[in-house]
């Protein structure tokens, strides 16, 4: 399957990647995995001695963004290392073969290397009827085959994790773990995944023979364990209360916090601020855009609107925020109470007017009513002398002033 006899450093040397670059790559991997620096040599040794495991990269309903993310490395050496360490037997985007010949590479690996190869799934798996067939087989079928027989599977990107953007579309896209329950899956959410993490997971697997520690979503803790907000360089502005109020305003130019622009950093976890993008050049918040929480569960729905503080309240028109609705509730209560008070005042007076003109008031005691009613209603003479419609003040202002400050429980 590959030129045998050569070690990884030798093969890399042939491709123009120096030993030095390789070792420093191992150092970066150790750092990404949050391992002590001493692990650099251990990783280098482990990678040099592994016999190039086969990797099958299958794409389903995707935008190829995750493939781009891993292949478009600004440092070609890193891509070389990754491509040389593993035998990428199937990856639609980069393989030369096509048609049945290419498909055979995948099916052959599944057959011959059962339980030995690594699968990477990119994109959601359409579960709706008749969407996405490759070589006559449905995506669900292929996924079950490839993932079910793999030693381990990496679900890269938001869509492969939980269906992502197309989860609620007609294709009913699903994540790998939904389609193949019980498979050994590591979810690497993100839109796209940060390839530094994906490579680090592969390196961890090759070095230690097992996956790194995972959280409740089967995401590696080293990458998804910390809040964006706690690693953000704008955090001091957040705590100080200095915010960007509009794109391009003075605060924006000064690098203030993007919280009021809808930054989801406080609600999201990822190591984005540390690993960064484009070879560690920058990351979105540093570049001046708010985080949209792309590595969070079902982030397309849970983190919407991307430029708003809180989710909109559904069922009240398109863009009703909790604030609008809440203020409406408060306003309505106030109006209702005021109206009720006025109503009570008028009602009291009307009842009394009737009481004084007719012995039977508008509210005869209901049959079987409590004795208190009888007491209340059986003293018409007590108010009989009062002329109707006297006294202008409503009850709220009339009579003895109530004890101030008290707020009893009626």
């Amino acid at each position: 399957m590959f030129p045998s006899g050569q070690t990884l450093p030798e093969r890399l040397e042939e491709r123009g990647v120096s030993r030095r670059t390789f070792v420093s790559f191992c150092g970066v991997m150790a750092a990404t995995l949050a391992l002590p620096a001493a692990y650099r040599t251990k990783i280098a040794e482990a990678l040099s001695s592994v016999t190039r495991p086969v990797l099958i990269w299958r794409q389903f309903q995707d935008c190829a963004g995750n493939s781009e993310s891993i292949l478009r490395s600004p440092h070609p050496e890193v891509a070389e290392i990754v491509l040389e360490t593993l035998a990428w037997n199937y990856h639609e985007l980069i393989m030369a073969g096509s048609g049945e010949q290419a498909e055979a590479m995948s099916t052959q690996a599944v057959r011959d290397l059962k339980g030995k190869y690594i699968a990477v799934i990119e994109g959601a798996i359409p579960s709706g009827d008749g969407y996405c067939t490759i070589g006559g087989r449905s995506a669900v079928d292929i996924a079950r085959d490839v993932v079910g027989n793999a030693a381990a599977t990496l679900a890269v990107g938001a869509c492969a994790w939980d269906g992502g953007l197309v989860q609620h579309g007609p294709t009913e896209g699903q994540g790998v773990q939904d389609v193949v329950p019980g498979a050994n899956v590591v979810n690497l959410g993100g839109c796209p995944h940060n390839s530094a993490n994906t490579v680090a997971v592969l390196v961890h697997y090759l070095t230690f023979g097992q996956m790194p520690a995972l959280d409740q979503y089967n995401r590696p803790l080293f990458a998804y364990g910390d809040l964006i907000h706690d690693q953000c360089e704008r955090r001091a502005y957040y705590d100080a209360g200095l915010f960007v109020e509009a794109w391009g305003d003075e605060g924006h130019r000064k690098g203030y916090c993007l919280y009021k622009m809808g930054c989801k950093g406080p609600a999201a976890t990822y190591n984005c601020p540390n690993v960064r993008w484009n070879g560690g050049t920058s990351w979105p918040v540093e570049a001046g855009h708010n985080c949209i929480g792309c590595a969070s569960p079902e982030f397309w729905s849970t983190m919407s609107p991307f430029y708003g503080r809180l989710p909109n309240v559904e069922g009240f028109g398109a863009d009703t925020t909790a604030e609008t609705l809440g203020l409406a509730v408060v306003g309505a209560t106030t109006v209702a109470m005021a109206a009720h008070g006025v109503g009570k005042a008028i009602h009291s007076r009307t009842v009394r007017a009737h009481d004084s003109s007719a012995p039977a008031g508008p509210e005869p005691p209901p049959p079987g009513s409590a004795p208190t009613d009888t007491v209340t209603d059986s003293a018409p003479t007590a108010s009989g002398g009062e002329p109707p419609a006297t006294g202008g003040e409503p009850p709220a202002t009339g009579g003895e002033p109530p004890a101030t400050g008290g707020e009893p429980a009626p």
Binding site: A370, S383, G391, G406
Partner: protein, 248 residues
């Protein structure tokens, strides 16, 4: 009592009787809890709204960065724990307190309570001139408090879930990390935020009803939450067949 311009029939009837005796309704712990919750909710509302939308620009000493939002968060979290303590205590007191604040006084469990519930509803709906005679909570209010406390519990759980999220360390994650899988953190914030408006609405209604009852009953309703005492409106009335009501 009968010196107002427009006394009600009951007030006139009451005037014919000697002054009503005072009864102790709200025990000291209940009053302390009540005012603690009021104070905590005011602080939590102001700081909480600031955390949602930092409406003033943070400031510090000249030449020094401020710490405005972080301080707001600190106050919010501290007040939150005071609030939690008060709510837990009030729930405890609903089991050991007197007949007026006992949990059984809050729900329409007995026939008499259900009849009071109907009468109170009729009173609010203008179908009845006077509210039913009661020294403690009326059953409609009792049910409102049960709802309120259910809201408080949701607020507390979402608050602790968010607190665990912010800290992201054990033991908080162990204790309340489970909330994150029940709903997204953003949804948790939304619920926590929206309930605030419910409490503002409740407070408006609560004060209104208290004033209304004070005016209707003239029994010291408003001052009772400070002194603990109300005038006994049941004095001289035929006691109902409800043991918790009879002031024997």
């Amino acid at each position: 009592m009968a010196t107002t311009a427009r006394p009600s029939r009951r007030q006139l009837a009451a005037a014919a009787r000697p002054a009503r005796r005072s009864i102790y309704v709200f025990e000291l712990p209940v009053r302390i809890v009540h005012w603690t919750i009021v104070a905590a909710l005011i602080v939590l509302t102001i700081t909480g709204f600031y955390l949602y939308d930092p409406f003033t620009r943070g400031s510090g000493m000249p030449g020094q960065p401020g710490f405005t939002l972080a301080e707001m968060r600190f106050v919010h979290e501290t007040a939150g724990f005071v609030f939690i303590a008060a709510v837990i205590f009030r729930i405890y007191w609903a089991f050991v307190g007197n007949q007026y604040v006992h949990w059984r006084a809050l729900l329409p469990l007995t026939k008499a309570q259900r009849s009071d519930l109907r009468d109170t509803t009729r009173f609010y709906a203008y179908l009845r001139r006077d509210p039913p005679l009661l020294n403690g909570h009326n059953p409609l209010a009792g049910m409102a408090y049960v709802l309120l406390y259910l809201g408080f519990i949701v607020t507390i759980i979402t608050g602790l879930g968010l607190f665990a999220w912010v800290l992201h360390v054990p033991p908080w994650t162990t204790l309340f990390g489970w909330t994150w899988s029940v709903m997204s953190v953003q949804t948790m914030m939304l619920i926590h935020f929206f309930l605030m408006f419910m409490y503002i609405g409740f407070a408006i209604h609560h004060v209104y009803s208290a004033v209304l009852y004070d005016l209707e009953e003239r029994n010291g309703e408003l001052s009772s939450m400070i002194t603990g005492y109300k005038d006994d409106v049941l004095e001289g009335e035929t006691p109902r067949d409800d043991p918790r009501r009879a002031q024997a």
